[in-house]
């Protein structure tokens, strides 16, 4: 099986997920990395340690990612080299261009894949319902898969050769790249906090945020939140934990009414101690927490506060 893994880089750094794609590629068959940009030799050398072949596609117009030019050059290479499987990272970039590429190739696509099994046809696994249920899907090859970060961490070392694909974009991009916008900076940097009380949609209303603040104060920590809490304007954007917010590693992460969606978990899973309170015993957060409490935050938190105060 010939497998293509489309590497990703931004701000001059190779995304480590690119290597995870190659780990899977090596498991499935002949691993080929593809790296696209203006000058990608540095990335190609790095990828060659994990791939049998590395294809470079270089052009000044490819300096900044645009989905249409990525699809344009990938179509040329894929139609020529005919891989059986095309792997793309399930990132903001990958999950943007991969479906368009799949349509143009006429291939099936499955996103956010966490396992691939070839014992009985080509079967991939992914989560649905925000992590609550798993599904195995049978897909015909050739196909495109976007791969979740952390799912294929181990793999073989290789010393592959770097090849120039000799491909250029056939037309200019319809979508003009303008620039990157830096994250907002607020008064509190939650990524430096040692104790975090994090609230999710289970906090129900802006009016209940002070309860979390009181608990944070009693513990000497700060309040952070999951995305819906920030989207609703109950906490400022710089308090968001997760892939599109901040990565935190505090000594204590107290998760209140957070379901534990992957995009949130990626931002807090390396915390030293995770305690989760959720009324749903099946909540995926209990899969990452060290300690779990099945209960209502409006019962648990006030009692905890009383006891903390009594100690002082």
């Amino acid at each position: 099986m010939k497998v293509f893994a489309i590497a990703e880089h931004r701000f001059g750094e190779l995304n480590p997920l690119s290597i995870e794609l190659l780990n899977l590629a090596n498991k499935l068959g002949e691993s080929n990395a593809v790296v696209i940009g203006k000058d990608v030799s540095k990335f190609a050398e790095e990828l060659a340690k994990f791939a049998e072949k590395v294809w470079k596609i270089e052009d000044a117009s490819l300096e900044n990612y645009t989905p249409d030019l990525y699809v344009d050059v990938l179509l040329q290479l894929i139609n020529r080299e005919k891989p059986d499987v095309v792997l793309v990272g399930n990132t903001a970039q990958g999950v943007e261009f991969a479906p368009y590429l799949a349509v143009k190739l006429g291939y099936p696509i499955v996103t956010d894949v966490v396992a691939v099994n070839t014992a009985n046809g080509f079967v991939v696994s992914r989560y649905v319902m925000q992590g609550k249920i798993m599904v195995d899907l049978k897909v015909s090859t050739p196909c495109v898969l976007t791969i979740r970060q952390g799912a294929f961490k181990e793999g073989a070392q290789k010393s592959g050769k770097v090849l120039d694909a000799g491909i250029k974009p056939s037309k200019p991009s319809a979508r003009k790249f303008i620039g990157y916008v830096q994250p907002e900076v607020g008064e509190v940097d939650i990524s430096k906090a040692e104790i975090i009380v994090a609230v999710g949609r289970g906090i129900e209303d802006a009016a209940n945020i002070p309860l979390a603040e009181e608990l944070a104060q009693a513990l000497g920590g700060v309040v952070a939140g999951s995305r819906p809490v920030i989207d609703s304007g109950w906490l400022p954007k710089d308090r968001q934990v997760g892939i599109s917010g901040k990565i935190v590693k505090p000594k204590l992460y107290l998760a209140l009414g957070i379901s534990g969606a992957f995009q949130h978990v990626m931002g807090m899973k390396d915390s030293e101690l995770i305690i989760a309170v959720n009324k749903d015993p099946e909540a995926p957060i209990f899969g990452v927490a060290h300690y779990g409490i099945v209960g209502n935050i409006f019962d648990v938190v006030p009692t905890l506060l009383d006891k903390l105060k009594a100690k002082k």
Partner: protein
């Protein structure tokens, strides 16, 4: 400005959901259905643009039972709706295919989809549709600024960064949550919207791209559970924190 918005009637994953007895589909008997969370933001954004510069908002829903969601969109301020009574499941190609067919005679400036649906979490239908219709596109959009026939957008990438780009129209955008504050619609408002046009278009997809083998509960590493009444739970939590020197 004419904007087509895709809106899915979807179960809330946090309500009671399970696996049906065939082991291949979801059992959603008591699940709470509503407009897909991301689509709420997409509909709101389209209506705001219409309110600012004029035009029309057309909502499209695929599903036998999607009337409530379409009516909600009409009550929010959309002008008309197309319902495609087909239950698509997890195969996003099929959904995109019937939508492409249903809107083929509509002229439009933009199509908005949600970034992903809250039940199947594919994040596919929008971009697949862009591919089928050869449209320029952008995903995870967090800001939209229209100038004549171009649209300047910000899209979300990792780590709190955003990317700024410019696209020609017509184009397709998938909307990220938090782009606006969707308006509230009352039950009265939804009733009033009953006079607005909702056209049913019967379509079946031609292709089948993926097949469900089985559904199951994910293997989870379970946390150590702290049990008891709130008082006991609180004492145990404090003991754990004490042991680690996190409280005095």
């Amino acid at each position: 400005m004419k904007i087509i918005v895709l809106a899915k009637h979807a179960p809330d994953p946090q309500s009671e959901v399970g696996i049906a007895s065939d082991g291949k589909s979801l059992s959603l008997g008591t699940a709470v259905f509503d407009i897909n969370d991301w689509d709420r933001y997409a509909v709101e954004e389209a209506i705001r643009i219409k309110e600012k510069i004029g035009g029309e908002v057309l909502v499209v829903g695929v599903g036998k039972n999607c009337d409530d969601t379409l009516r909600k969109c009409l009550a929010m301020g959309a002008d008309r709706a197309i319902k495609i009574p087909f239950d698509g499941g997890i195969d996003a190609y099929q959904i995109a295919e019937v939508i492409a067919e249903a809107i083929k005679n509509e002229k439009f400036d933009m199509i908005f989809a949600g970034l992903m649906s809250q039940d199947v979490n594919n994040a596919l239908v929008g971009v697949l549709l862009a591919g089928m219709l050869n449209l320029p596109f952008a995903t995870a959009v967090t800001a939209i600024d229209i100038k004549d026939k171009t649209v300047r957008i910000k899209r979300e990438i990792e780590g709190g960064y955003q990317e700024e780009s410019e696209l020609p129209m017509p184009c397709l955008l998938t909307i990220q949550s938090g782009i606006n504050e969707p308006r509230y619609v009352s039950v009265m408002g939804i009733k009033k919207a009953k006079t607005k046009e909702m056209k049913e278009v019967k379509l079946e997809p031609k292709s089948k791209k993926v097949e469900v083998v089985k559904m199951y509960l994910p293997p989870v590493k379970k946390a150590e559970m702290i049990t008891g009444d709130p008082d006991q739970v609180a004492s145990k939590v404090i003991a754990i924190l004490k042991e680690r020197g996190l409280v005095g």
